[in-house]
């Protein structure tokens, strides 16, 4: 097997505040292979976005990566000097943020913003970069790109702006794209197009994609594998078919049960009682234990480690015996 494009091992991210040190990410590990789309799901505050920001090195003080390793195609990129991680950003990792309306500088023409990015990462001439920018805009599906390139961001619709943002993210042919809730701020009608675009670009260029979202529908439709995050940990990770059809972790079960399906209209949607704990009040043991229907004593004291279950990996004490029999 070839080396994965992205390999994250035991990542921890802390935010040091005056009162306490809050651990936003606690021992997260996952890989993304070339051309693979990994979906990352979870409620708001589960640490999905922070994971993405940590990979691209945009965790700002008071936050910091306190331990763990991040490897991009075999080279460590956590704790690189600022100038070196900057060269990785945009060139080897492209990022797409949630809100296309605020992601583009309103005072610059979109062409200038693309050309600026291209020329930062290559030594193309101004005119060559501009030609490349027009090609990119065409590739992301902007009609009449040679005209639109001189437009200002406010002259584009939300969906079109997100296409521009995607063009900016891929303009240096990155190995990895991190898309942080790329469709949340968009109209429902546009969401599918943007997702399809990201998927197509990933496939055409062999780019690995980390797709952060809380939309299970998007995950089921787009991703090859999915990681379910809860309170800064990965509760379950595995191929998307298995995780959606046969979730193992009680939280993942609840999450999958919360997807409305056309087929099962008579079934009531499952609700997970309670809310995810705040970072300052994560319970000992398994963070999900106060809300878990299958909770037992061990969950309240001991933190569950990821356990392999076929292609899936799940952090839950319910699956401990299986591991023992396997051993």
């Amino acid at each position: 097997m070839t080396k994965p494009v992205l390999s994250v091992r035991n990542l921890e991210v802390e935010f040091v505040t005056r009162r306490a040190t809050l651990r936003a990410i606690n021992g997260v590990s996952f890989d993304i292979a070339k051309g693979e789309v990994l979906g990352v799901v979870g409620e708001s505050g589960a640490g999905k976005s922070v994971t993405g920001l940590a990979v691209i090195g945009l965790i700002d003080p008071p936050g910091r990566i306190s331990s763990g390793e991040i490897e991009l195609s075999g080279t460590r990129i956590d704790h690189l000097p600022p100038e070196e991680i900057r060269r990785v950003r945009g060139k080897r990792i492209g990022m797409i943020f949630q809100d296309p309306l605020t992601s583009l500088n309103p005072l610059y023409r979109i062409g200038d913003q693309i050309v600026e990015t291209i020329r930062t990462h290559s030594n193309l001439s101004e005119s060559a970069a501009r030609r490349r920018a027009i090609d990119l805009l065409a590739e992301v599906g902007i009609p009449a790109p040679e005209k639109r390139i001189d437009g200002y961001p406010h002259e584009f619709s939300g969906g079109m702006r997100q296409r521009v943002v995607i063009a900016l993210a891929i303009c240096a042919e990155p190995e990895l794209i991190i898309a942080d809730e790329p469709t949340t701020a968009l109209d429902v009608s546009v969401q599918a197009q943007i997702i399809a675009l990201i998927k197509r670009l990933g496939r055409d260029h062999g780019t690995a994609v980390m797709l952060v979202t809380h939309d299970m529908g998007v995950i089921a439709e787009t991703c090859d594998r999915v990681a379910v995050m809860y309170s800064g940990r990965i509760a379950e990770i595995g191929p998307v078919q298995e995780v959606v059809r046969n979730p193992l972790h009680p939280y993942a079960k609840g999450l999958m049960g919360a997807i409305p399906t056309l087929a099962g209209e008579d079934k009531r949607l499952v609700q997970i009682p309670g809310a995810m704990p705040r970072l300052s009040a994560i319970p000992p043991g398994c963070p999900f234990n106060p809300r878990c229907a299958f909770v037992f004593d061990r969950c309240r004291v001991e933190r569950p480690e990821p356990i392999r279950q076929g292609d899936q990996s799940v952090a839950c004490h319910l699956f401990e015996p299986a591991k023992e029999t396997a051993a």
Binding site: T102, T117, T120
Partner: protein
């Protein structure tokens, strides 16, 4: 765009009309124009005759119309003190005030932007804290105290700079400039700093606050995620977005600079319109006061208009929304 400009223009005319009414009321009711002409021993009958010949017994509206038409031709009557037409007095003094105000504004903008950008980017350094302290003092100390302090340091104690006047002046047609001689430049340093200090403080605080705000925006984060250099992010993206509101404020402040030059000109005996105005207030020379009010208002209103229009040029968003609304 055109409709917007037109609306702005009409508003400006409205403001000028209102100020004109005030100036006229001052001219007509606070000061007695007859006093401009007569001496103490003029009899009551002669006064009445002059009053009639000046049209002062016409209906007030007619008088206002006349004052207004005269003002449009820059005829503001005759100064009580100097017995000279106010317009020629103002014209003679205007170059001094404008030169001082322009030099002060340039100083304020350059120093204010540099200090503001520095204290936003290097927030916790000693120098940034020093700038903050300077800004507090700049806002707190009355202008005339700063002027006196500078005079004491650089004119009285060190003897480097002249304490009053414009230095050697060169005539360029009707415009007299001090900016072509060494002594003129020496003379303008202290007044310009005194006058510009308050604006500098204002601009510095504004730049700092705006820049910190801009650095938190999504497009700056996205610019970082695109791997742009820190320099490109700070001085390309962040600074450009910061400067849009700053330019507006600095532009609008130019009118205040001219008005505040009243104080600076008094401290440094700078022969400009402000000094003329202060002497007019001291000596109750109403025609000069009314004319000064009109002149300064005109400058204010013109600047506001220009800044509003410029703003739409700088910010593409406004350009098209304004255009669309029109």
């Amino acid at each position: 765009m055109l409709a917007f400009t037109l609306r702005r223009f009409l508003q400006a005319i409205g403001v000028m009309l209102a100020v004109g009414v005030i100036a006229f009321a001052m001219f007509r009711f606070a000061g007695d124009p007859v006093n401009q002409i007569v001496s103490i021993d003029t009899s009551a009958a002669q006064r009445a005759e002059i009053r009639h010949s000046l049209g002062l017994d016409d209906p007030v509206l007619v008088q206002f119309g006349r004052y207004f038409i005269n003002a449009l031709q820059f005829k503001f009557g005759v100064s009580y003190q100097f017995r000279l037409p106010v317009s020629s007095l103002l014209a003679e003094r205007m170059p001094a005030t404008l030169e001082l105000a322009i030099v002060a504004t340039i100083f304020a903008m350059v120093a204010g932007i540099l200090m503001g950008v520095y204290s936003a980017l290097r927030r916790d350094t000693v120098l940034a804290r020093l700038f903050q302290a300077i800004s507090l003092i700049g806002i707190s100390l009355p202008t005339f105290l700063i002027g006196i302090l500078l005079i004491y340091l650089f004119a009285v104690t060190l003897g480097w700079l002249p304490s009053f006047g414009r230095g050697e002046v060169v005539k360029l047609g009707w415009w007299s400039t001090g900016l072509l001689t060494v002594s003129g430049w020496k003379a303008i340093i202290m007044p310009a700093i005194t006058l510009g200090l308050f604006q500098m403080t204002l601009i510095m605080r504004l730049v700092r606050a705006e820049m910190l705000e801009v650095l938190r925006t999504d497009y700056i984060r996205f610019a970082r995620a695109r791997g742009l250099t820190t320099r490109a992010i700070h001085f390309g993206h962040a600074l450009k977005n910061t400067l849009v509101p700053v330019i507006t404020v600095a532009g609008l402040q130019f009118g205040s600079v001219i008005a505040f030059s009243i104080i600076t000109e008094t401290v440094f005996q700078w022969p400009g319109m402000g000094l003329l105005f202060v002497q007019a207030v001291q000596n109750v020379d109403i025609p000069i006061m009314a004319a000064y009010l009109l002149m300064v208002s005109l400058i204010f209103v013109t600047i506001n208009l220009v800044v509003d229009i410029l703003y739409t040029v700088v910010d593409p968003r406004l350009r098209s929304t304004v255009g669309r609304a029109a």
